[in-house]
C-alpha cells in the first residue's frame, strides 16, 4: 500500500482505523492467471454468433483440450448437425474443424444433399461427446472460392487460397456426387 499524505502524522501508527486498513491492504493475490478456466467461462456463454465463435476459437490458442464447458473442444473437433441456409433450405451435415496455426478455424463439411449456401445461414452442430453449438456463417462470396477436380473426378468448391496440398487432404463423402 502506498503511503498517503494524510497519514504522515506519527500518531497515525496507533490509529485503529489505519491499523485496520493496513490489515486489509496486506493480503496479496498470488495465484497465477487461470487462462484456461477463463476460456472455459467464455466458451460457456450462450447464444454467441459466428463472429464470437471465431474469437473464442482464437482465444483457445493451442492449449484447449476436449471437455471444455459446452462440451466442444474448439481446438479440434468433429461434428454432425443441420445446416439451415438463409434461403430456408436445410441439409444434414457432418464434418470436422481444426484451428490453424494462424488462428483460423478451418472447417470441412460433408452433406447429404445440395443447397445454396451463398447467402450464409446457421448450423446446429453436436460433437461426439455431446457438446452443442450454433455456428452462424457469413454469406459466401463465390469469387473468393474456386472449383477444383478431385483425383476421383468429382468437382468441389474450395477457398481460393487453398493450395494443392490442402486440396489433396480434402475428404469427401463417397456418397457425394460433387458439383
Amino acid at each position: 500500500m502506498k503511503k498517503h499524505d494524510s497519514h504522515t502524522d506519527p500518531s497515525a501508527a496507533t490509529d485503529p482505523v489505519d491499523t485496520a486498513l493496513s490489515a486489509l491492504a496486506a493480503p496479496r493475490w498470488s495465484k497465477e492467471p487461470d487462462w484456461r478456466s477463463f476460456q472455459e467461462r467464455l466458451m460457456s456463454t450462450r447464444s454467441f454468433g459466428w463472429k464470437k465463435l471465431g474469437v473464442l476459437a482464437l482465444l483457445a490458442s493451442g492449449c484447449f483440450a476436449a471437455g471444455a464447458a459446452g462440451g466442444v473442444a474448439w481446438e479440434r473437433f468433429t461434428f454432425t448437425g443441420v445446416f439451415h441456409a438463409a434461403n430456408g433450405q436445410s441439409v444434414n451435415v457432418q464434418g470436422g474443424a481444426v484451428r490453424t496455426d494462424d488462428g483460423r478455424l478451418e472447417m470441412h463439411l460433408n452433406s447429404d444433399g445440395k443447397i445454396d449456401v451463398s447467402g450464409g445461414g446457421t448450423m446446429d452442430i453436436t460433437t461426439p461427446n455431446g457438446g452443442k453449438a450454433k455456428l452462424i456463417t457469413k454469406p459466401l462470396d463465390l469469387s473468393e472460392s474456386k472449383e477444383v477436380t478431385l483425383p476421383d473426378g468429382r468437382k468441389v468448391r474450395v477457398p481460393k487460397e487453398f493450395t494443392d496440398e490442402q486440396i489433396k487432404k480434402i475428404q469427401v463423402s463417397p456418397n457425394h456426387k460433387g458439383i
Binding site: 482505523v17 495465484k31 492467471p33
Partner: protein, 188 residues
Amino acid sequence: MDPAAASLNATPEPTTANASHQTPQAFGDFYREHYQAIAGLIYRRTGDIHVTEDLTADAFLAAYKSMDDYRGQVPPIVWLRRIANNRVNRWVRREIGLRGILRRLPLISAFVPPEANSTQPRSAALAALLRLPIDQQEVLSAHYLEGLSLDEVALMLSISPAAAKSRLARARDALRRELAHQSPESRP
C-alpha cells in the same frame, strides 16, 4: 451444399480508440497483465478466495463483452477496476448480505498468512468495512487497499477529487465508529 472445405476467419476488427485490446490475442495479454491487480482488489474486499475467483472471471468476462463500448475515455486498468468494483458491490448487496458475510468471516483465516495473530485483526477490519455503505467501502478500498491517489480514486468512481476527499473522510469516520462498536471495550 458443396462438400467444400470452408475456411472461416472471424477475427473481429478493431473499432475503437484502444483497438489493441480488441483483438483476441491482445485481450489474452490484457487478461494476464491485469489479472493480479483485479483479483487482488476483489480479494481484499471480499476475503474469500472462491468468490474472488468467480468475480474476477466475471469482471473479465464483462470487460470482454463490452469491449465494443469501451472508447478509451479512461485508461484500461481504470475501466477494468470500475467493472471489478461493480461486481464486488453487487456481490455485497445481493448475493451475500450482511448475515452471509458475517457467517463467512471465519473462512478468512484460511486465506491469510498463518502468522500468529494475523487473522483476527483482518477479520475484524473486514467485518467493519463490510458494514459500511457501499460508496464508503469502495472509496476506502481504492485509496487505502489499492493505493490509488485521490485523483485516481476520483477517476475510477467518476466523481471529482474534492468529492473523493470528502467521501474518504466520511468513510474513515464511519470505519472508526464501526471498529469502536465491535471492540471489547465498547461492549457492555
